[in-house]
Symmetry: C2
Subunit: 360 residues, 2 copies
């Protein structure tokens, strides 16, 4: 079980049944592997393409136990897995990526401290547990700054901007007394992310960096190639290798960087396949989803090189009204998530627009 590659016919358990779990299931099927989805919500998008689905809460120990013993290895599509559930699952089957990666990515303060410890540049930050901390923190990071809860932040939720001292009270209230972190602003030119994979044997394969544009705190587009200089490109890849190696990581990780004239700042790491890596589905022969499945299944990683240039655009809520036009454009490859209801702000799918053969 431990380090031999999973044979075709084996089953990968996936915690979370959203679009990432769905695309992981599809990738697993290409390698002859089955998937079993664990998801509290009914009718998860991933369930439409998975061999099995368990609908249960993360505190349902019987369900967790039955799930774990029905699979050969466990992975996940989101990082906020309750600790007790993880404890139980880990006692029954290998969980990849490992606990270490979750530990660092579940807490912004721990994450930043870890990254700084690796000699990587991060935004100025300070711990905040109340009004008195905040004044000192603002002095240390400068303003404007963003106050964020240490845990469970996702797509701009649990965040408040502090432009000047007068914003402090409202920002603290928005945190609802949760342990928080104040992050100083970084004056950056643009943001890129690297989707990196590390195999069970320690091999690391990185996809080319993508350039991200956010709108209302949600990723809007990722463009490859990114407008990085060769040294910047190298620096991003080297940082990714350092992070994955330090965590003895197995699987795909998304790493966001702010690009400044004089270097790269690591913004955030996500121990899973990442929205900014969706372009790989149509830009590479082996995409981030298959790369992740290969890693957690103990297979050799695939080739990560890019054959086409791509602009990935998220389809959010009302964007679905554009579907007829998007489907009719021959430059587009569509990827829809099988979600029943269109809601404002909800990620419904994405489109990979092919802009030409790979260059740059």
């Amino acid at each position: 079980m431990s380090s031999a590659p999973l044979a075709p016919g084996a089953t990968i358990g996936i915690l979370g049944g959203g679009q990432l779990g769905r695309m992981l299931s599809v990738a697993a099927s290409r390698l002859g592997l089955k998937t079993h989805i664990f998801e509290p919500g009914a009718h998860p998008p991933a369930g439409q393409v998975a061999d099995r689905v368990t609908t249960a809460d993360y505190d349902d120990e019987d369900a967790l136990r039955a799930f774990a013993t029905s699979v050969d290895v466990i992975t996940y599509e989101f990082e906020n897995i309750p600790t007790a559930a993880l404890d139980l699952l880990e006692s029954l089957r290998p969980v990849r990526p490992n606990r270490e990666a979750l530990h660092f990515s579940q807490d912004r303060l721990v994450e930043k401290t870890f990254l700084e410890g690796l000699g990587l540049q991060v935004a100025p930050f300070a711990e905040v547990n109340g009004a008195s901390d905040l004044a000192a923190a603002m002095e240390s990071t400068g303003t404007p700054a963003i106050l964020k809860t240490r845990r469970l932040g996702y797509d701009g939720k649990g965040q408040a901007r502090i432009g000047a001292a007068g914003d402090a009270r409202a920002a603290l209230d928005a945190m609802n007394s949760a342990p928080s972190i104040l992050e100083g602003f970084v004056d950056f030119t643009f943001e890129v992310s690297v989707i990196a994979a590390r195999g069970l044997d320690g091999e690391v394969v990185c996809f080319d960096p993508g350039q991200n544009v956010h709108k209302d705190g949600i990723l809007a587009t990722t463009t490859v190639p990114a407008a990085l200089s060769a040294p910047q490109h190298r620096q991003a890849i080297e940082a990714a290798r350092k992070i994955l190696g330090a965590l003895d990581y197995v699987g795909v990780m998304g790493i966001e960087f702010f690009v400044k004239q004089d270097g790269l700042i690591v913004n955030e790491i996500a121990p899973r396949v990442h929205n900014s890596g969706h372009w790989t589905q149509n830009g590479c022969v082996i995409d981030q989803f298959e790369q992740h499945i290969r890693a957690v299944a103990g297979w050799p990683l695939g080739d990560g090189s890019r054959h086409s240039d791509v602009v990935m655009e998220n389809l959010i809520g009302e964007d679905m009204a554009r579907l007829p036009a998007l489907a009719a454009d021959p430059a587009n490859a569509l990827h829809l998530y099988g979600k029943a209801d269109v809601k404002p702000g909800r990620k419904m799918g994405h489109v990979n627009r092919i802009t030409g053969p790979a260059k740059g």
Copy 2:
């Protein structure tokens, strides 16, 4: 229902749960469509990635009726669907490709007559219903020739080679009294196939021809680009357009040609996605499976152009022992079918070997 494109969330019913149904299901998921598989055999490969599976025989009218009414449109992965089942299904939901296509491809004699009627070149052929017919047929086609049952031929089964008059008796016995057709040999240089798609609106998109090599009557490899001259390439595409148009066809069709110095001979048509089109999964942005789903769902067809050159190799039976080496080679993209048992002659998967950016 009839001609409006299916909206995301709709369900495509697929007759047959093998590897073709499996890869069709995966393609449907990209477009936000669900699939429901109808298959007599238990645990079909397609069931691992489909939203629903019905396990029932083609003479189970209740099961057919429940299946049809649960889906929005019906397609199939194989052409030998029993007539009574088709009658019932057609009365409840659109079946695409249509009956016409099945009619022609289910019977080799009818197929050849149809193709000849379109002005396309086919191998010399003659109807054979017994020993007396056979002598006349051999005179008309010349020897060597191949005696084939008119119906249900697949991967070299139900065929017998007649080198000289002395082989006639054994060949007839091999047909087991089934209505047959004698096909004269064609002295060809190589075989190619065109994977062509036609949308509900009549638009036709063809993938580049692939060059096929068979072994023991089973497809072994398909290579793109094929070694066709520009006029031969044009002739193949024009023949494909003519065939699909004449049938008012909706979906993907595989068309095999023998290539001779002085022209192309149409060997066979298959009204479905085709093994010789598997290279499109890694050579094109939109593959044959998505193209078929787009067509039967009434969507506009996708771009069929090739970004990479590919050699597709089938993995048959014992080839699965080569899996570790195949998985470790970065030029390879693997596609395994999730079949539980490795059997000699059984198609277990295929590998698309990327040989470079598209040229030729």
